[in-house]
Symmetry: C2
Subunit: 167 residues, 2 copies
Amino acid sequence: MTKTKLILAYIANDRARKASFKKRTKGLIKKADELCTLCDVKACAIIGNPYDNEPEVWPSNLRAQQVISEFKKLPEHVQSRNKEDNQSICQERIAKKEGKLRKQYMDNNQKELTKIMYMCLVSGAFQNLSLASSESLVFLLNQNIKDVGRRIELLQNTLFPSQDNVE
Amino acid sequence: MTKTKLILAYIANDRARKASFKKRTKGLIKKADELCTLCDVKACAIIGNPYDNEPEVWPSNLRAQQVISEFKKLPEHVQSRNKEDNQSICQERIAKKEGKLRKQYMDNNQKELTKIMYMCLVSGAFQNLSLASSESLVFLLNQNIKDVGRRIELLQNTLFPSQDNVE
DNA sequence: CCATCTATAGTTAGTTG
DNA sequence: CCAACTAACTATAGATG
């Protein structure tokens, strides 16, 4: 990331990949250290090192082992939540996410239409629109016209205030 | 970090600490994901979660276990490097770092002197300097004078070039 | 290979709804 | 509690020595 926007994909170039690995591993460990200091949590990380036989182990071999052994005690807890509960919690979450997704769809749709509208206004070419797009577009244009009307009214009130409109 | 500069210390405020924990844990996992994608490495992380019985385990419980079990196979390798080697490698590194440290000291010293020099020039008060500082200062001033001399020469050659100096 | 630099992308503390 | 926002911050790709 940076100089050029990050493309999140395997870096084919060997040099670049190695450089990235070193920098990012260092950065990751720094972040982990910060988290530990700021929030006083126990944590560990193991990062396979393609350029060395030994993986990067943080915060230290020993402490990692300790965290891991605590972690291994847990699987029972995980299963102690009964399945019904898990299912209902999941479904709740799914519903919530779906709600957000729908909202996104609508936003996207709105933006798409706005784009089409501007393109039409610039090119003057309205003939290639589908009926559905046309109808949506009419709606959008009407909305914009209303917005402009409101804006004009507001400006008139600001520039030439009457006693009714200004305190 | 941000809005206010990060103070790397335990966050006493409960709300702030929890907020920080959530944001940073998310950020950390994102970074780890990126590292995996970009460099194709195997890795795992376990982060104790003070607000939940279960720790954050990344990339998944199962994959973490796999990475850990591979990691556990390694201690032999670690020890297969004989101690002599380890020691000499360490000493090499220490020597290198010490070299850098000395360089830093010298740089610092130089900067300190430059600061003193400017303060003296501004205030005109040279009487409070130790002998050592005075000697260093004289050296520094002579260097600066030489630098200025070279600069003058360079400028003269640029402004009034003679055949000898310009191609 | 490593260190340093710089511009830009990304992260996040604090705030607000 | 969560999501969104913004203003500071930090991280890092790419270039250079």
